[in-house]
């Protein structure tokens, strides 16, 4: 591991850099100190519009409703990362640790619990801390545990079922947004009586996709049974 900590720069360069960065940090710190004492954030606008947002958790309201367009693009970022990883090559799914009996037993108990927990986080996200991203990542963790412990790789599921799982979140978000454009006249403009249901629908699809995408990212490459084998 000698290479890990080694640097190729001369001490003079490092000291110069350190000095420069300390100046930058000092400047930034000073800038923070001169900020107004009271924030002029958006909390008031958010709380004024919570009643029509369809949920009670303000963070979920911002994520899926007020600034839902950001979240839609962010789902695209997640998918692009996966496309990038897949375009680099295929995963070696065969080289894995032998599942030990203890691990299998542990996973057998743990994975269903985690899936339940993901469902709970998704459901509770409307009113309390939680939501699609937290639920999705717990789902991904369950998926990774299952992948690590399973004796056989689920090759059968690696074709179009996997692609549906990956696209479901972004696809649902897009489809709901565009449907609303033609029905209620505005892109991603939820009618206030349907907002709660639509947000839950989008979040459920997003949770599944986030879970599948993050677990697929963990594999580190396109599964072998892809469409071009």
């Amino acid at each position: 591991m000698s290479a890990a900590g080694r640097s190729r720069h001369s001490p003079a360069f490092r000291w110069g850099l350190l000095l420069l960065l300390l100046t930058v940090a000092g400047g930034l710190g000073y800038a923070l100190l001169t900020l107004p004492d009271q924030a002029v954030g958006l909390s008031e606008q958010v709380s004024a519009n919570m009643a029509t947002s369809g949920v009670q958790n303000p963070v979920t309201a911002v994520l899926i409703n007020f600034r839902g367009y950001d979240t839609l693009l962010e789902m695209a970022v997640l998918l692009v990362a996966l496309l990038g990883v897949w375009s680099l090559g295929s995963a070696e799914v065969h080289r894995r640790i032998d599942p030990q009996p203890v691990l299998s037993l542990l996973v057998g108990g743990l994975a269903p619990l985690m899936i339940l927990m993901a469902g709970y986080l998704l459901w509770v996200g409307a009113n309390a801390p939680g939501g699609a991203f937290q639920a999705g990542s717990v789902l991904a963790a369950a998926g990774i545990l299952l992948l690590l412990s399973s004796k056989r790789f689920p090759v059968r599921l690696m074709g179009w079922p996997l692609r549906i799982g990956l696209l479901l979140g972004l696809g649902t978000f897009t489809a709901v947004g565009m449907t609303l454009l033609f029905v209620s006249g505005g892109f991603l403009q939820y009618p206030s009586n349907l907002a709660g249901a639509l947000i839950l629908f989008i979040e459920a699809a997003a949770t599944l996709s986030i879970g599948v995408t993050l677990a697929a990212l963990f594999l580190g490459g396109r599964p072998q049974a892809g469409p071009y084998r």
Partner: protein, 102 residues
């Protein structure tokens, strides 16, 4: 000084610390860690300064932004790690060459 400001200053320190490590260290895995530390610093500034409200509730908009940022960060990290593996396979080292190859 309020605690909001204290956390924001810590955020700036993390940002600078990460930047230093990003430039100085050669190993790509270390550079990826550095980028992630920088990101945490920025997120800390974003959320901490949202706590300067009079009410009990902090501003939720930066919270949503940071959740977006965290997902972007893991996406970028996953792509970067996959690239590191390919770079190591192609060049034998998980480092960037000093001079661009011919």
């Amino acid at each position: 000084m309020s605690s909001a400001l204290l956390y924001a200053l810590a955020g700036v320190s993390l940002f600078t610390l990460g930047l230093y490590a990003l430039i100085v260290h050669a190993h790509l895995l270390r550079k990826i860690l550095a980028i992630n530390v920088m990101g945490s610093g920025v997120f800390l500034v974003l959320v901490a300064l949202g706590g300067r409200t009079t009410g009990a509730e902090p501003d939720p908009v930066p919270h949503a932004m940071v959740i977006t940022g965290i997902v972007v960060a893991i996406s970028a990290t996953a792509l970067a790690l996959a690239l590191v593996l390919r770079v190591q396979a192609a060049t034998g080292r998980a480092e960037l060459p000093e001079e661009p190859l011919e």
